[in-house]
């Protein structure tokens, strides 16, 4: 007999412990959950049941949906040349660089190398955003352009994850048609539906969005694609609605962060074996180095082309080298579908976590452009909105 409630108590206990630690040390709960998950996986023999796998998968869909819904399309349109080129280069170079290193140097299989390329191609919008807010850059044109470029990089990541391993048969046609129709209809149908049902305790708005995400996720799964791809795209097309409806965004975040994402991040950590990390310390360091160098190759020349200053260029490139959520999602996808081994998963997730921390610390410590806008300007910009 499966001890469902006992297992649930252990997982939620770890999630609570991670939350308390994160509040105490001021580090994101996601990162702490991964670390606590590794402790649970290595010391407590955390059990993965089908319902935990479901909650974790649901958590990854919600994370990508919320990430897509946070895009400010206005900024993207206003600075489309810089945003598209920097964002695309920031995806492509690490994807090719890390993939090539994994295949030719580390001797990984083609599929495993593709997963390595995808996992290390990401940029963490949230990591970058926190730095921007603390320094006041999120109110500047420079900061908003960086954030928009990060979204393009992540779009590249989910597209690669969604299409590289898919089967190109009639299932893919159904998935493509279904997703295309949904993306076309949702910006029209959703506001109409929301205005009809209104905001109620029975949450018809949230249920409607979950129906869309699960249906498209089902089509993606049938085509051997990945459910996070439609989730991100649906988030993107509904972003203006979410920016206007803060209560709905808050509710969906509350659902996600209470009972879904803890299972995802704890699971992502629990599958990382300490032995594999110890055996591959050098390889992890090299993967991190390859990611950062490839980001420099792709992004740094463009910062010059767009006439950023020396420090601004270095700062931007280092921030674009960060990664967390999409990196772990890609690695977990690879492991779940047996494209990578448990050792390779441990290497990739550790490199991804380090990429959230190391480039940020270097950027803040040595390359802060120091052009933080004055308080009066910030106040004026806020009141202009």
């Amino acid at each position: 007999m499966e001890l469902t409630w006992e297992i649930a108590a252990v997982w939620i206990g770890l999630a609570l412990a991670a939350t308390l630690i994160s509040i105490r040390i001021g580090v994101s709960v996601a990162l702490v959950e991964i670390v606590v998950g590794t402790v649970g996986g290595n010391l407590l023999d955390l059990r993965l049941t089908p319902w935990i796998n479901f909650l974790a998968g649901f958590g990854s869909i919600m994370l990508t949906f919320l990430a897509g819904a946070e895009i400010d399309l206005q900024v993207m349109k206003a600075k489309w040349r810089e945003t598209l080129s920097i964002g695309f280069a920031s995806f492509l170079m690490p994807f090719l660089g890390a993939g090539a290193f994994a295949y030719w140097v580390a001797g990984w299989s083609v599929e495993a190398s593709q997963i390595a390329g995808i996992a290390l191609s990401t940029t963490s919008v949230a990591v970058v955003y926190a730095v921007m807010v603390e320094r006041g850059y999120n109110e500047t044109e420079f900061g908003q352009m960086i954030l928009a470029a990060c979204f393009i990089t992540d779009l590249g990541t989910v597209l690669a994850l969604g299409f590289l391993f898919a089967d190109y048969d009639w299932h893919m046609v159904a998935f493509g048609v279904g997703t295309g129709l949904a993306l076309w209809l949702l910006p029209r149908v959703t506001p109409w539906f929301f205005s009809k049902v209104g905001s109620r305790i029975s949450e018809p708005e949230t249920k409607f969005l979950l129906l869309v995400l699960f249906t498209l996720g089902g089509l993606a799964q049938a085509a051997k694609s990945e459910a996070v791809l439609p989730a991100y795209l649906v988030g993107m097309v509904l972003a203006p609605l979410f920016l206007a409806n803060k209560t709905l965004a808050q509710r969906m975040r509350a659902i996600a962060f209470t009972i879904l994402t803890p299972f995802y991040f704890l699971k992502a950590g629990a599958l990382v074996g300490w032995g594999a990390i110890l055996n591959s310390v050098g390889l992890i360091g090299i993967f991190l180095g390859v990611k950062v160098v490839a980001k420099f190759v792709g992004v740094w020349p463009l910062t010059h082309a767009f006439r950023f200053g020396q420090r601004e260029g270095m700062y931007l490139t280092l921030l674009m080298s960060t990664g967390l959520t999409f990196g772990t999602i890609s690695a977990l996808y690879g492991l779940s579908n047996r494209y990578i081994t448990e050792e390779q998963y441990a290497v990739l997730v550790t490199a991804v976590i380090l990429s959230a921390v190391v480039p940020t610390l270097i950027a803040e410590r040595w390359f802060d452009p120091g052009s933080r806008p004055g308080e009066e300007i910030l106040t004026r910009r806020r009141s202009d909105r």
Binding site: V127, A130, V133, R253, T325, R372
Partner: protein, 140 residues
């Protein structure tokens, strides 16, 4: 003696004592009084922008509350206080603000950390005293 006074205010007991001294000095010398609160608890390495946004909102609500209380207490003593809430690192933000706005006195509350922490990093009050461009009054 003092023309422009800045008081660091994070809502702690030490900060409340500092505020009370700053208000009485401003009243005594007819000085311009400003308070600064620094939001420095944003989660680092977050998973979604929403996580950062909500933390920022919680911090904003907290600072709005303590700022309103501080202004009320200054008003009760007949002093008008200008309040500023800024994101960033506490020491760096206060020092830069004091420098940029030409304050001649910075009033802060004493914040005790553990001995080990204090020895390795220095407390916030120690660092502010060391780096401030103007005279610093640490209230205990």
């Amino acid at each position: 003696m003092w023309r422009k006074i800045l008081v660091g205010h994070d809502g702690s007991e030490g900060a409340k004592k500092a505020l009370s001294v700053a208000v009485s000095l401003a009243s005594q010398f007819g000085a311009e009084l400003h308070s600064i609160s620094v939001e420095e608890k944003l989660p680092h390495y977050a998973a979604t922008v929403g996580e950062v946004l909500e933390s920022k909102q919680e911090a904003a609500d907290y600072f709005r509350k303590i700022t309103a209380e501080a202004q009320q207490s200054a008003r009760a003593s007949g002093v008008t206080m200008h309040s500023h809430v800024m994101p960033g690192h506490e020491v760096e933000t206060i020092v830069t603000f004091a420098k940029d706005h030409g304050f001649d006195l910075l009033v802060i509350g004493f914040m005790g950390h553990s001995k080990i922490f204090g020895r390795i990093w220095g407390s916030t009050s120690q660092n502010l005293t060391k780096l401030s461009p103007c005279t610093v009054l640490v209230v205990k």
